[in-house]
C-alpha cells in the first residue's frame, strides 16, 4: 500500500468522526489558559534595570554622588583661591582618579560581593548587571568629567583636548590599579587597599607634577602614548574580567 492510499484511508476515517466545534473551541481556550498560567511573562531589559534600581542598595550610589559633589566643590574652591594651572590639572586628575576608584568599588560591592553567585543564576545575571551598571555609571562619570574638563579648561585657558588627555590617562590608571587589586585574593579580602591605592596615586600625581615641562605641549606625545597604552591595558583587563565571570570562579570567590 502506498503512502497516498494510507493518507486517503486516514482522511476517510477522520470524516466519520464528528467533531463538535464548541468542544474544539473549549479545548483550545483551556489549552491557551493553561499555557498562559505556566508561562510567567518576562520583563524587558529596560524594565528589569528600572526594577533592579528601585530595590537595590542605593547607599553606594549616594556615596558616589557625594564624592562627585565633593570633587567639584574642591575644584571650584581651588579656582576661587587662584590656584595655578598645574595645581588645577593635578586636582582634576586626583578627583577623577578618586571617582574612578569609587566606581569600581561600587560595582564590586553591589554585584560582585556575596550575592554574585545567587545573581549568576538569575535571568538577568551578574555579568549583565555588571555590564549594565558599568555603562550607566560610566556614562554619568563621563558627563561629569566632560563638565570638569570644559569648565576648568575654558576658565584657565588650557586646551580642552590637552586637559582631557591628562584626565583620561589618570582615569585609566586608577581603573587598572583598582580592578587589579580586586582581581587578587588579598585585594578582595582587604577592600580598603583600594582607598590606600588612590592615596598613593594622588601622591604620585603630585610628585609627578614637579617634573618640569610635564604638562607642557612638548610632552603631549608622551601623554598620548601613555593614554593609549593604559586604555588598551584597561580594555584587556575588562575583557579578562568578563571571561572570568563567564567561567564563574570569580563569582564564587566570596
Amino acid at each position: 500500500m502506498e503512502n497516498r492510499e494510507i493518507k486517503e484511508l486516514f482522511l476517510q476515517a477522520d470524516k466519520q468522526i464528528a467533531i463538535q466545534e464548541s468542544r474544539k473551541q473549549q479545548v483550545l481556550t483551556s489549552m491557551t489558559m493553561e499555557l498562559k498560567q505556566q508561562k510567567i511573562p518576562v520583563l524587558n531589559q529596560r524594565e528589569i534595570l528600572f526594577s533592579q534600581f528601585l530595590y537595590m542598595d542605593k547607599s553606594f550610589l549616594i556615596l558616589h554622588a557625594i564624592a562627585v559633589c565633593f570633587c567639584i566643590g574642591i575644584l571650584l574652591l581651588l579656582q576661587r583661591a587662584g590656584a595655578d594651572i598645574n595645581t588645577m590639572i593635578i586636582a582634576c586628575m586626583i578627583g577623577v582618579s578618586g571617582i574612578a576608584v569609587l566606581t569600581v568599588f561600587l560595582i564590586d560591592k553591589l554585584f560582585l560581593g556575596r550575592m554574585a553567585e545567587l545573581g549568576a543564576s538569575c535571568y538577568f545575571s551578574t555579568k549583565q548587571s555588571v555590564a549594565a551598571y558599568m555603562v550607566i555609571v560610566g556614562s554619568i562619570n563621563l558627563a561629569i568629567f566632560l563638565l570638569i574638563i570644559f569648565y576648568i579648561g575654558s576658565s584657565l585657558n588650557i586646551g580642552i583636548l590637552q586637559l582631557g588627555l591628562y584626565v583620561v590617562t589618570a582615569f585609566f590608571l586608577s581603573n587598572i590599579v583598582s580592578v587589579g587589586i580586586l582581581s587578587t585574593e588579598i585585594g578582595r579580602e582587604n577592600r580598603y587597599f583600594l582607598f590606600i591605592s588612590s592615596v598613593f596615586l594622588a601622591i604620585g600625581y603630585t610628585v609627578f607634577s614637579a617634573v618640569p615641562t610635564v604638562f607642557s605641549a612638548v610632552s603631549l606625545g608622551a601623554w598620548g602614548i601613555a593614554c593609549f597604552i593604559l586604555g588598551s591595558v584597561f580594555a584587556l583587563q575588562l575583557k579578562k574580567l568578563f571571561v572570568e565571570m563567564i567561567k564563574g570562579e570569580i563569582l564564587c570567590m566570596n
Binding site: 510567567i40 511573562p41 518576562v42 520583563l43 524594565e47 528589569i48 526594577s51 533592579q52 528601585l54 530595590y55 537595590m56 542598595d57 547607599s59 560581593g113 556575596r114 550575592m115 554574585a116 553567585e117 545567587l118 545573581g119 549568576a120 543564576s121 538569575c122 535571568y123 538577568f124 545575571s125 548587571s129 563567564i246 567561567k247 564563574g248 570562579e249 563569582l251 564564587c252 566570596n254
Partner: protein, 296 residues
C-alpha cells in the same frame, strides 16, 4: 517536563578535580545528592546552574547546551546556594522584590508571589524587619523563598535545611516533596534524614565521582548483611571504633551497644541487623575505599 542531561562532566580547579566524569539524566522528581564535605556537591550544583563552566563534558537541557540557552535556561532555574549572599539592610520584602527583578518577574506578579512565599516560609510577621536581624534558620527560609519566586522548573537547593530546627525541616521536606512532582528538584546534603523520605533517587558522591545512584530501597539493599549490632563492654569501644565504621553508639548500663557497618563480622556475638540509608551512606563513603572512622 524538562530533561537535564549531564554527560561525562568534569570540573578541574588549579590543583584538584572537583567533579570527575559525572553522567546522569534528570527528569521530574526529587534527587538527593549525598556526600561528605568536599565531595564535589556544590561544584556540581554550580555547574548545573551554569555558574561554573565544565572543564570537560556537556550539560544539556532538552538536548540544548545550557551555555547556549543562556537567559532562557536561567529562567527555568531556582537556586539556593550553600551560603547565599544578601544585603543585611534589606527587609525580607525588599530582598525578595530585588530577586524578582533579577528574575525578570513583572512587578505586579512579584508582589503577589512575594506575599505567597512569605506565608509559605512562615515569615510574614517579620517581613519588614532587616535581614541582618534574622536568625540562621530565618535566613535559610528567605533563601528557599527566593529560589521558589519564579516557579522554577529546575530547582537546585544546596543544603536547604542547614540551620533549620526539626519542625522547620519536616515542613520543608514536605514542601520539597510536593514540588518534585512537577519539576526537577536536586538537593544536596550530608544529613541523610533530610532526603531519606522525599528523594525519588539518591545520588552519592565521593571525591568528585558519582559512586552510587538509585532509589532508597536499591541503595539500602546493597548493604543488607553488612550492618551489625553488638553489645560490648565500654573498654572495647575504643578499639572497635578505630577498626570499624561505627554508625551508632548507645550506652546501656556498663555495656555499650554498637552499630557497625562492615563487610566482615566485627566480632563473634555481632548480629546482622536491618540496614538504613545512613548505613548505606557510611558504607559507600567510609567502608569502601578505606576506613575513616565515623560515629554518627
Amino acid at each position: 517536563m524538562h530533561e537535564l542531561n549531564l554527560v561525562d562532566v568534569q570540573k578541574r580547579y588549579k590543583e584538584k578535580d572537583a567533579v570527575i566524569g559525572f553522567t546522569f539524566t534528570f527528569t521530574n522528581g526529587v534527587y538527593g545528592l549525598l556526600g561528605e564535605n568536599g565531595a564535589g556537591k556544590t561544584t556540581l550544583m554550580r555547574l548545573i546552574c551554569g555558574i561554573l563552566q565544565p572543564t570537560n563534558g556537556s550539560i544539556t537541557c532538552d538536548n540544548i547546551r545550557i551555555s547556549d540557552m543562556g537567559a532562557e535556561y536561567r529562567q527555568l532555574l531556582g537556586y539556593l546556594p550553600q551560603n547565599f549572599g544578601y544585603y543585611g539592610d534589606f527587609t525580607a520584602v525588599r530582598f525578595l522584590n530585588y530577586m524578582a527583578a533579577l528574575k525578570a518577574l513583572p512587578r505586579d506578579y512579584a508582589k503577589g508571589r512575594v506575599e505567597e512565599l512569605l506565608e509559605l516560609v512562615d515569615l510574614k510577621d517579620v517581613k519588614n524587619k532587616k535581614l541582618k536581624t534574622y536568625s540562621g534558620g530565618m535566613l535559610q527560609r528567605i533563601g528557599i523563598a527566593q529560589a521558589l519566586l519564579n516557579e522554577a522548573d529546575i530547582l537546585i537547593l544546596d543544603e536547604p535545611t542547614a540551620g533549620l530546627d526539626p519542625k522547620e525541616r519536616v515542613r520543608f521536606r514536605n514542601i520539597i516533596s510536593s514540588l518534585g512532582k512537577k519539576r526537577i528538584v536536586l538537593l544536596s546534603t550530608h544529613i541523610v534524614s533530610d532526603i531519606e523520605y522525599i528523594a525519588d533517587c539518591i545520588l552519592m558522591m565521593k571525591n568528585g565521582e558519582l559512586i552510587r545512584q538509585g532509589t532508597e530501597n536499591e541503595v539500602i539493599a546493597d548493604v543488607q548483611g553488612y550492618v551489625w549490632k553488638c553489645v560490648v563492654p565500654e573498654c572495647e569501644v575504643q578499639g572497635l571504633n578505630e577498626k570499624y565504621v561505627v554508625s551508632n553508639l548507645r550506652n546501656s548500663g556498663e555495656n555499650v551497644e554498637l552499630r557497625i557497618v562492615s563487610d566482615i563480622q566485627p566480632m563473634k556475638n555481632a548480629e546482622i541487623t536491618e540496614a538504613t540509608l545512613e548505613d548505606a551512606y557510611l558504607y559507600y563513603t567510609q567502608v569502601l575505599g578505606g576506613k575513616n572512622n565515623a560515629v554518627v
